[in-house]
Every structure is written in C-alpha cells, then in structure tokens.
C-alpha cells in the first residue's frame, strides 16, 4: 500500500525527521482556515500517484483568500485519473538547497538499496543522469542491516557538504529504521530540503508498505485505502487481480503469466486489451461470475475473451460460473471462450448444453491463439 504524503510525514515526524508544519484539509474552507493560521502556504494535492507537481497539483499561495480559491481549483482536479480529495496545507519553507534520500528493495541483490544525493527535487533517474557524481548508492544486506560506515560512505560519495553530515546521518538512520519497522517496499524524501537557516526538512515523503505484511501491522492496515479506478477498487474488494487498460477487448484468464500472455496475444493480433484480469488458481464459479460482471461494467469493452488453461483451476467449475453469469444477466457482448486442461471435457459439455438453449451466446475456440484472433476480429480491430 502507498501512504499519502501527509501520512508518511506523520510517521517520519514521529520518528524524529523534521517535516514542515502542516495539516490535512478536505475542503477549501478548511484550507483557508489553516492558511489564516500559517500565512503563506503550499497546497499539496494528496493523490497516490507520481508526477503530481508537473500535473499542477501543487500550488503556492500568499494569502488565505488565494489559498481558498486555489484549493477550490485543486479539489476539482483529477491527476492521472485520480480525484483530488485531500489537500495538505503546509508552511512555506525558505529553501536554500534540495537533496534526495531514498531506500528501496533491491531485487537483483536480494537486498535493500539506500540512495543519497546532494541534489534533489527531480526524479531519481534524472538526478542519476544529470549529476552522477552527486549521487551515491549502497546495497544493504538485510540480515546485517545498515551500518554506520555505509552512511559515512554515502555522505562522502554524494558530495554532501560537511555541515549537513550530522543531520543527514541521523535522517538516513531513521529512514532505514522506518523502512524496516513498517516493512516498506520504498521510502523516499525528495526533496530533502535545507532551509536558509540551515535546518533540514523532509519536504516530501513517500512510504510504500508491503501489502503482504499488513496482517502484522494493524496501524498501517487501518490506514489502507483502496486506490485506482472505480473498477479496480471494485475488483480489489472482491479479491480479483484487475488492472484497467485502454483497449476494448476484455480479458479473463487464470494465472498472472497466462493473463499477461493473453493480453499480449490480443495485441499481437492487432487488438487492444481493455484490462488485465486474473482469476488465479482454483477459482470458484462465483469468482468467474463476478469477473464477468466486472468486465461488463466497463463500457469500452466490445468483446470478452476468456482464456482458461485448467491446472488447479477446473474447467467444469469455470464453465458453471459462466453459465450462471449468463443466466442471471443479459449479456449482449460477444464472449470468446477457450477452455483447456483439467476437466476440459466436462467443461465443454456444460458449455455445449448451455449453447443448445442459448445459441450464439458463446463462441468456443480450441487454442488461445485462435481465441485471440477471433476476439480481435469481433472487436473490429483488424
């Protein structure tokens, strides 16, 4: 799960990392009230997506009235498909310098990587490209943890000015502690700001927590909000792996790899998938029905391609789910169906029985390649 900036900052602050004074607001009126207290403020849209600044989601204001009117604007905005519903209202810092600190999982080394740069305020990739000599990186073995000497190496190798050593040392140490304590996947301070009076602040804050760890971290689990498009939220509530895409062919498959392969196949045939949807292993007929419902509620879907290779998943169970779905709703969208693997024959039998009474409702195919071709054809893609 991704924490909102204001949530991450609260955690940073509780652990001793200095953050700008600020409060969260849900309405323009609340924003104004906070601005009356603070004076010049920065309004920061709280959305769980990057590139918020470039998208105009951050506004500097000088007066409460200006804060009010800009908050109005922000609360009408959508950033990369996400509505702005919360605004973090913060004191304006007198910034002398921007730097960067981040910690993330290192898949290749089965470790944790910590990155420090004496420049910041842009993407870490951009820093790496523009200022390779101002960025330093260390791989932390998770068993031994971050060592003090590694922090010293980071300080020296990033060209950090000597006067910030003490503060940055303790910020990195704390950031690592937070990373471990909250079982993070990523945490980042960008920019890490030095103000004109020499104080160091986490001016922004990211903290992404491993979903799989939430069962033992109730504090975070309670903070969890489902994010993404409405359909994605719906799917997540129902325990379905669903990602909305911008094509018109709905895809249902079992297994993450198979679902991706099915999407790819559609693309290879000249079509465009409308989604990724994985019913997983051993899906129940109920889950199959829910998945179809979900896909049908996406108005851009012109055709559905169901591609099942039964392993643990049984073809007869999938077939039943399908039949149930069709008997409960009036499906007008054409559905291409491929069923192979475990209990294939029983599955086909259920389907052909159903087709006897509902001719044309389903278009059975034998292979996934054939199915993809058919689906693209029906979507008018080729």
């Amino acid at each position: 799960m991704k924490l909102y900036e204001y949530q991450a900052k609260q955690i940073f602050s509780e652990h001793g990392i200095r953050t700008p004074a600020g409060r969260i607001a849900f309405t323009a009126e609340e924003v104004k009230k906070i601005a009356e207290e603070f004076g010049a403020v920065v309004l920061k849209s709280q959305v769980l997506v990057g590139g918020r600044g470039k998208a105009g989601g951050i506004k500097k204001t000088e007066t409460p009235d200006e804060a009010y009117s800009k908050a109005k604007e922000l609360l009408k905005m959508e950033i990369k498909g996400l509505k702005v519903e919360k605004i973090l209202v913060e004191e304006k810092l007198d910034i002398e310098r921007e730097m960067y600190a981040g910690i993330t999982l290192d898949r290749g080394n089965k470790g944790i990587v910590i990155i420090l740069s004496s420049v910041g305020g842009m993407d870490i990739e951009e820093i790496a490209a523009k200022h390779p000599d101002r960025i330093a990186k260390k791989v932390i073995n998770p068993i031994w943890g971050l060592q003090d000497y590694q922090i010293r190496e980071l300080l020296y190798e990033s060209g950090m000015p000597r006067e910030y050593f003490k503060d940055v040392f303790s910020i990195l140490k704390t950031l690592y502690r937070i990373f471990i304590k909250y079982e993070a996947e990523l945490t980042e301070i960008n920019p890490l700001v030095v103000t004109r009076d020499g104080a160091i602040y986490a001016a922004d804050a990211r903290l992404n927590i491993d979903d799989s760890s939430l069962y033992r971290n109730r504090e975070m689990a309670e903070k969890r909000e489902i994010s993404g498009s409405d359909l994605e939220k719906e799917a997540e509530k129902k325990g379905i792996n669903y990602v909305k895409l911008d094509g018109n062919i709905g895809v249902i498959a079992n297994g993450a790899g198979m679902s991706m392969a099915t999407m790819d196949l559609i693309y290879l045939e000249g079509g465009k998938p409308a989604n990724f949807l994985d019913i997983g292993g051993g899906a129940s007929s109920e889950l199959v029905k829910t998945s179809i419902n979900l896909i049908l509620s996406d108005p851009s879907v012109k055709v559905i391609f169901i591609n099942i290779f039964g392993g643990i998943t049984r073809c007869d169970v999938v077939a039943e789910g399908l039949v149930n779905a069709f008997s409960e709703m009036d499906v007008k969208t054409p559905v291409v169906l491929r069923l192979s693997g475990t209990n294939e024959e029983q599955g086909r039998k259920i389907i052909s029985e159903f087709l006897k009474n509902n001719p044309g409702k389903l278009i059975p195919v034998t292979t996934m390649e054939e199915g993809a071709k058919k689906a693209v054809e029906l979507a008018g893609g080729v």
């Binding site: 290749g108 089965k110 944790i112 068993i143 392969a261 790819d264 990724f276 292993g281 693997g341 390649e369």
Partner: protein, 290 residues
C-alpha cells in the same frame, strides 16, 4: 538424471494436515513422489494418506531421512518453516505459500544461502521431473518424460507450454516454477547452472515476465557461460508501467523491467524468443530436431 528432484528424493510436507497440504500430498503420492513424512506441530502420531505426521522437521528428518521439503503453511508461518527446514538439514525446500511478506522473503533467501540449500519459490507451483518425482501443485498429467528443461516465473504459462510440447511429442527433463514474487529463492541463473550439468537436458525453455532484471541477467549468463540452446518467452508486452500484474514481482518500476528490454537481452544472447506459447513449442521442436 534431471535436476533438483528425481526418484531418490525423499520429501516431507510442512503443513500436511491443512487442506492444501493434504490434497496435494495425495496428488504427489499418486504421481509416485516419495513423500516420507509430514509436519504439523501437535499432530505427531497421526497420518495423512498413510504418511506419518511429526511435530518438528527435526524429528521428521531423524525418523525418515528426508532430504527435501515442500511447504504449504500460511504466509505468517512460512519464514519459520523455511528456517526450520534448512536448519534441520533439508537441502531442497519448495515453498508453495503465496503472500509472504517481502521482508520475510529476504530473510529466507539469506538463511537458505547460508545453509547451502536450495529454495524454490515462494509463491510457486513447484518442481516436476516427469516420470520421477513431483514436488508441487502442478497438473502433472500434461508433462511427459524427455530432454527439455523449463524454468518459469509463471505457473499456468508453464502448463500451457509443457502441454504444447507434450502434444508435439517433446518431453521434459525437469520443469521448475520459480515463483512470481519479487524476492525468490532461486532465479534463472542458479537453475541454468544445474541444467548445464544435467546430461539429460538438451535444451532449456525460459519463461519470464515483466518486472526486475532476472531475465536480463540470465541472458548475460547464457551468452557467457551456458552451452545448451535456450528458447525464451516473456509475458507482459502490453503491461502498463507502475501497475502490478497479478504477481507481486510483475511490475514495471522506474522504467525498468519491461518486456522489450528482456526480449532484446535474450535475443542479444542468441536466445530465440517465441511470441506466443505455441510458437515457443514450435521453436523448441525445430531446435531439438536440428
């Protein structure tokens, strides 16, 4: 020969009395896998499909001489189960469990490494050496004995490809689902090294997907050190950045881990990459014949 498991593999099932553990124990037994014991704390003395249950891995190993383990315990207990296995002398651990916290996976990885053991998974369908042994949850009916090794990050795609191969009359030496998580016990390279040494394996199919750089690293290894032909497949050409495609590990982050990058790396290493699972099987057929 095959790699990892064969007819001499004597395995225990950790979490044998659970629904999944019991169900797959039966299936593995029916395939001929030597399941010699099971572990569920507090259930020592019971038996599951004729397999004796022990309280601890230590006592299971002492009593049965097991050398491998397959883990079905819930995610909260999986890390401890892996530690228990390798600390008790087990040298091959297959962890089926899905949803293990990634910080636990880091610990598991390093612990297994310290013990010079091998971990397959977690969040994987397991391993099969057709005709010899099956330590996993695969639909084993679709596999057949032969000389093609498969290493795959995806379960169902593996089945699809193995099914296509078997249909074409091409059997498999060993098929390994390495798991879809970000931190896994064994990656392509470690298993390629084993296939390199395995006389029975003539060719290896490598099934990758978006996320991470394991395929790129494997490509480098293949080009430098691997002598047998490799056929590749990469899922996720159409996956958008920043979205997790089912598997925890299948996510394009910071511009890294795209299918394009992986396909290019493999092709640069002279690995022929199939565009569809069927095409993969067709290429294998050509190369095996050639």
């Amino acid at each position: 020969m095959a790699i990892l498991i064969d007819e001499n593999t004597k395995a225990i099932v950790q979490g044998i009395t659970g629904y999944q553990g019991s169900f797959h124990t039966q299936r593995m037994l029916s395939y001929g896998t030597k399941i010699v014991g099971g572990v569920t704390p507090g259930k020592e003395g019971e038996s599951v499909h004729g397999v004796p249950v022990f309280n601890t891995v230590k006592s299971a190993v002492d009593e049965t001489g097991a050398n491998a383990s397959i883990i079905f315990v819930p995610p909260a207990f999986a890390c401890d189960a892996v530690f228990e296995a390798v600390d008790s002398g087990i040298k091959l651990v297959v962890c089926i469990t899905e949803g293990i916290p990634v910080h636990d996976e880091l610990r598991m990885y390093w612990k297994v490494k310290e013990k010079n053991a091998v971990l397959i998974g977690p969040n994987c369908p397991g391993v099969i050496s057709p005709g010899k042994s099956h330590l996993g949850i695969m639909p084993f009916e679709i596999f057949s004995e032969g000389n093609v090794g498969i290493i795959s990050r995806s379960g169902t795609l593996t089945y699809q490809i193995a099914y296509n191969l078997t249909s074409m009359g091409i059997g498999q030496s060993t098929v390994i689902g390495i798991g879809g998580d970000r931190i896994i016990g064994s990656d392509f390279i470690e298993l390629l090294k084993m296939f390199e040494r395995d006389d029975e394996t003539e060719l290896v199919v490598l099934v990758g997907e978006i996320g991470g750089t394991d395929e790129e690293n494997a490509a480098e290894f293949i080009s430098a050190e691997f002598s047998k032909p490799v056929v590749g497949y990469i899922a996720g050409i159409t996956a958008p950045p920043g979205k997790r495609m089912g598997h925890a590990g299948a996510i394009i982050e910071g511009g890294k881990g795209t299918a394009e990058s992986k396909i290019k790396a493999l092709e640069d290493a002279e690995v022929r990459v199939g565009k569809t699972p069927y095409e993969v099987a067709k290429i294998v057929k050509e190369q095996i014949k050639g």
